[in-house]
Symmetry: C2
């Protein structure tokens, strides 16, 4: 591969990683608030106006608008204004990338703790053998 081609590919790959990182940053940050998680669960049951949501979560309109803005930025909610009412629906993102990240992490976690278990097991075995050798 030529150096120019190599650098171009590297650039594209870096951009892809950055974009995927930015998306995960935005969605995990959006999920780090109980009201925003509640809004997503609520919209999973049916569309709602900002006023409905503010009522249901005992918030001011301004407060709810902010939360919906964060969810919208992260692609988790879509809004549409018809007349004076802004209706919120679930956005196009199904949190696939977030799910994949968690799954991979849990796999690493399991492997890591399995490895530690094996270390502990082999230490125990060694201790047992040492004890036996001393007893002889």
């Amino acid at each position: 591969m030529s150096l120019a081609r190599h650098n171009a590919l590297r650039y594209i790959l870096n951009r892809m990683v950055q974009q995927s990182n930015a998306r995960l940053d935005a969605s995990f940050a959006a999920l780090s608030d109980p009201t925003r998680r509640g809004v997503l669960e609520q919209l999973g049951r049916g569309d709602a106006s900002i006023t409905d949501l503010a009522d249901r979560f005992h918030m001011t309109l301004t407060g709810m608008k902010k939360h919906v803005g964060v969810l919208e930025q992260a692609g988790l909610v879509a809004t549409e204004k018809v007349g004076r009412v802004r209706t919120c629906t679930l956005g196009p993102r199904r949190l696939d990338a977030e799910m994949m990240w968690l799954e991979r992490y849990r796999q690493l976690w399991d492997e890591r703790f399995d490895a530690l278990d094996q270390v502990v097991e082999s230490l125990k075995q060694k201790e047992k053998n040492d004890g036996r050798n001393k007893a002889k």
Copy 2:
């Protein structure tokens, strides 16, 4: 059930929901940064000192200490100081609750979009029938 018992149960349930919410808040916030996700992936491969992590992620010691602090608060990393070196390992939390939240959300999402698909389908069918009736 007596009112006192009812209120006591309600209080306990509320506390449980609040605690579970606080945990999800902390872990999703901890995951909303690419360096912190990188640190978790790195520790999944093996323990590391704060200095190792700072080097690997091209950060100052102070910056890395802050990130590790956030992960530790969320129960995702555990640290132990031996002499002058603070070693980081994966914490006890396997992100089970976070995984469950995402799974439930995706289920709601699927059901919601299936329901919308059905509405669109029935509208199409209606249009087709109306067209046929007009053509008669």
